[in-house]
Structure formats: C-alpha cells, structure tokens
C-alpha cells in the first residue's frame, strides 16, 4: 500500500509542531543566552 494523498491536516500539523517546537525553542534560547553571557560578557 503506497502513501495516498494526505488529507488537509495543515492546521493539525502546525499545532503539533508548535506544541513541541515552542518549548524546545525556549530551551535553546535560554542556553544560547547563557553561553553568550558567559563568553561575551
């Protein structure tokens, strides 16, 4: 069985990627801020 044309799930795709993406972005921003403060003064 080959992959069929995906149904219109764009809103769901955006929602679930934001669900995991935003906390992840928060973590990365916090880390970059810490590293920048420590090495950049």
């Amino acid at each position: 069985m080959n992959e069929t044309e995906p149904a219109r799930r764009t809103p769901l795709l955006i929602l679930v990627w934001l669900w995991v993406g935003l906390p992840f972005l928060y973590g990365v921003v916090e880390l970059v801020r810490k590293v920048a403060q420590l090495f950049g003064g």
Binding site: N2, E3, A7, L13, V20, G27, E30, L31, K34, L38
Partner: protein
C-alpha cells in the same frame, strides 16, 4: 494486555494520515523524559531543606537511569506487542506519577518517597518512553530512518535544555522550601502529563504494507548491510552483530561521557597555568556548548547516516573521535580553541552514536522487533554510564595523589578513551549481514502482526 483505545489495533492510521504527525508525537515524549538530565537543579534545595548529602540527593537520578536501562531492556517486547500508544501512555503515567509521589514525599519530609517516586516509578517511564516511538518512526520513515530516530532522540537531549531553566524559574517563584519544592514537583507532574498526552493521542502505526509514495523496499539498494528480512529480539541477542553493536555503543558512549561528566573541572584544570585560565562561569558556558553539540549531533549525524550508510558514519564517530582525543592529548594546554572545538565534535559524535543506532539495528535486523532489540542494546548505555566516569575520575584522583596537576591529570584517560574508540572502530569493521538462520521463517516479518510475534 492493552485494551481498547491504547491497543495497537486502535491506533492504525487511516490511509491519508500524514507521517509528519509522528515525529512531534515522539518529541512530546522525549522532550518530557529528557528532563532527567536536569535533575541537578533540584539537588541544592533538596539538600538544604531535607538535610541530605550530595550522594543522597543524587539517588533519584541514579536510580532513574538504572530503571531506564532495565525497563527498556525488559519492557521492549511488551512495547512491540502492545504498540506505541500503550507505551507512551505507560510512560506518561509513570513519569508524571513519579513527580506527584515526589511532591508528596517532600511535603511530608519523607525522602524515601522521592527516591521511590522519581527514581523507580519515574524511571520506568523513562525507559518505556525512550523506546516507545523508535520502531513506529522507522516504519513510517523506511526511506529516512536515521533522520526520523534522530529527531526523537535529539528531543531527549533537548528535554534538559527546557527543564533546566523552567525548573529553576519555578523554584524561584515557589521558593526553595519543602512547600515550594513540593509545589514545583506537583506542577511538573501535571504539566508533563498534559504535554505527553499529545503524543498518546497523536501517535499512529502505519497500516500493514504501507510505504511512502514512490519508495520501493529493495534490498538496501544493493547494500548488503541493509536487510529486508526480519529477526526477532530473542534471536537478535544470539547474533554476533548484536554484541558488536553493543560494544560499539558502549565504547562510543564511554568516551563521550568521560568528557561530559568532567567537562567543567577538566577545562578549568587544563588551562589553570596558562595566561588565560578558565573561570567557573566560562566553564559552565563550555558545558552548555557541549550540551548543544550533543543534541545537534543527534539530528545532523543520524540524518547524514541515511546518505552515507550506517557503517561509514560509525567509522567517522569512532575513527575521527579517536583522532580528536589524540589531538587534545598532544596539544595539551597550548590551544584553548583546539580543546573546545575537539570536545564539541566529540560530543556531537556521542549524541550521533545514540541517535544512529536504531537505524543501524533496523538495517541489520529489519523493522520486525527493532524497538525491543533497541531496548536490549541500551544496557550498553547503562554500562558506559558507570565505565566512563569511573575511568576518568579514578585516574584523575590517582594522578592528583601523585602530585600532578593540569593536563597531566587527564592525559592517561584521554589515551584510554582513544583506545576504546579504536576497539569500537574494529568492532564496527567486523559487522556483517546477519546469517539467514536467524531470520523469521515468514520471510517478511513485518507482514506478521507483532501482537502474535514471539
């Protein structure tokens, strides 16, 4: 036995389901359980309020990691049988309950409840959660298994990045008293339950025989190292290939964890007698950089393995990794930038080794019970978690006792790590396709319902 909503048969995707909904389902579990690496945030307030020693406050974390290895090893077959939704639900329930039990323990000043809750109950959630999406992702992305598992396992690295500042902010808000810590644990348990529930609701297994549009399962496109046959978890551990991969994973992790665990004191000690010594703040930044490359390596190198092959990527992890350890040992304290860059690349290989191994297992043993085989292989991680720090700490202590200081404290360890990586490199060269006598008789095991697989 899983029933109803949680059962594998109730999570089969409709024909037009998008496979790009599966990585966020996996990430919602891995980003949550990756919190375990941020446990150290809770150590000082627990020690202060409950009068614990450093060793005592580390117990929930250590027990959690032990339970992770044990539950992944022994729960893998159940995960394969009952499906990813059941596994993610078990993981969510255990991980969140672990925090709730811990909240009760702190509120009642009964530390044993924290150890039992976070370490034992939560630890089961870690192990089942870690392996829960692996075989599902590989089945949805047979054309890019390295990338798919790389995304999920990167999430495990990213979990601590989220939890560390978040937990700190919460402790600041609620206060580092027993009441404040208990409330923090309570909020963690509730928020992680909601966060992980998205994965439980969203995860789907592909319908039998499903494949991506335009993709045909040829026998590895002529690559003999990629099988279309199926090997059960029980048979896999009887093959030399499993144990060679065990050695490869164990030595690659040992080499990385050796640096990771001592990163801060190591860089400080290395450059203490130079014109530009490294202060505590800069050392903390170095640890942050290593976390970042550890996480990015999981996605970047694992995705690269889809293009250049699993054996080749491990040649890079192990061969170039050994070379970089030699570079650090030979340059000593002469170049800080060389030290930092080499350590960053080594840690990216450490993360890459974790993320690529499920795809390597899939290549050798097929998708049939790859999650259960992966669970068994994770005992190599538990072993390395003891070996790496043991080697580096024991040697540094003995060198210090002998009156040495600076890079000399770590030179021997660096050469040992190099030797381990070379041994891993040799093991990787010995990996051959699995002998057909270990294959499942059905030919294509993926056509056999896993619930009935034994």
């Amino acid at each position: 036995m899983a029933l109803g909503f949680l059962d594998r048969s109730h999570s089969i995707a409709p024909p037009n389901w998008s496979r790009w909904l599966i990585p966020p389902a996996a990430l919602s579990v891995h980003l949550a359980i990756g919190q375990v690496y941020a446990w150290s945030v809770f150590k000082p307030p627990l020690e202060e309020t409950l009068g614990l020693s450093g060793t005592q406050s580390a117990l929930p974390f250590q027990l959690g990691i032990v339970m992770l290895g044990l539950s992944a090893a022994f729960g893998g077959t159940l995960v394969e049988r009952n499906g990813p939704r059941w596994a993610m639900f078990v993981s969510m329930t255990c991980f969140s309950s672990g925090f709730l039990i811990s909240a009760l323990g702190v509120a009642a000043s009964q530390y044993w409840l924290v150890v039992l809750g976070y370490g034992v109950v939560g630890g089961v959630g870690l192990g089942i959660g870690y392996i829960s999406p692996v075989s599902t992702l590989i089945k949805w992305f047979p054309d890019r298994p390295g990338m798919a598992t790389g995304i999920a396992i990167m999430g495990f690295g990213g979990g601590a990045l989220i939890a560390s500042p978040w937990s700190n902010q919460m402790l600041e808000s609620f206060g580092s008293t027993t009441g404040g810590i208990a409330t923090t644990f309570l909020v963690h348990g509730l928020v992680y339950a909601v966060f992980m529930s998205m994965g439980v609701l969203l995860v789907r297994v592909p319908p039998e025989g499903w494949r991506p549009r335009g993709w045909q399962p040829t026998a590895g496109n002529g690559n003999k190292m990629i099988t279309t046959a199926s090997v059960s978890a029980r048979n896999a551990i009887r093959t030399p290939q499993f144990w060679l991969l065990w050695v490869i994973l164990c030595f690659n992790v040992t080499a990385g964890i050796g640096i990771l665990e001592k990163a801060s004191p190591m860089i400080t000690e290395f450059f203490r007698d130079t014109a530009t010594p490294v202060g505590a703040a800069a050392a903390a930044g170095f640890v942050g950089l290593l976390s970042l490359t550890n996480m990015l390596g999981r996605f970047v190198w694992s995705s690269t393995s889809d293009l250049i092959g699993r054996r080749n990527i491990y040649r890079i992890y192990l061969g170039v990794g050994a070379g970089l350890y030699l570079v650090i040992a030979l340059t000593g304290d002469t170049s800080k930038i060389v030290f930092v860059l080499a350590a960053m690349v080594i840690l990216s290989f450490y993360g890459g080794g974790f993320a690529t191994v499920p795809a390597y297992l899939k290549d050798l043993f097929g998708t049939y019970q790859v999650g259960a085989i992966h669970g068994r292989l994770l005992t190599a991680w538990s072993t390395a978690g003891i070996l790496g720090p043991l080697i580096v700490n024991a040697i540094a202590d003995s060198q210090e006792a002998a009156g040495k200081q600076g890079p000399a404290l770590y030179t021997t360890s660096l050469y040992i790590m190099m030797a381990l990586l070379i041994a891993g490199f040799v093991a990787n060269e010995l990996v051959r396709p699995v002998h057909p006598r270990f294959h499942e008789p059905a030919g294509d095991g993926s056509a056999v319902p896993e619930k009935e697989a034994r």
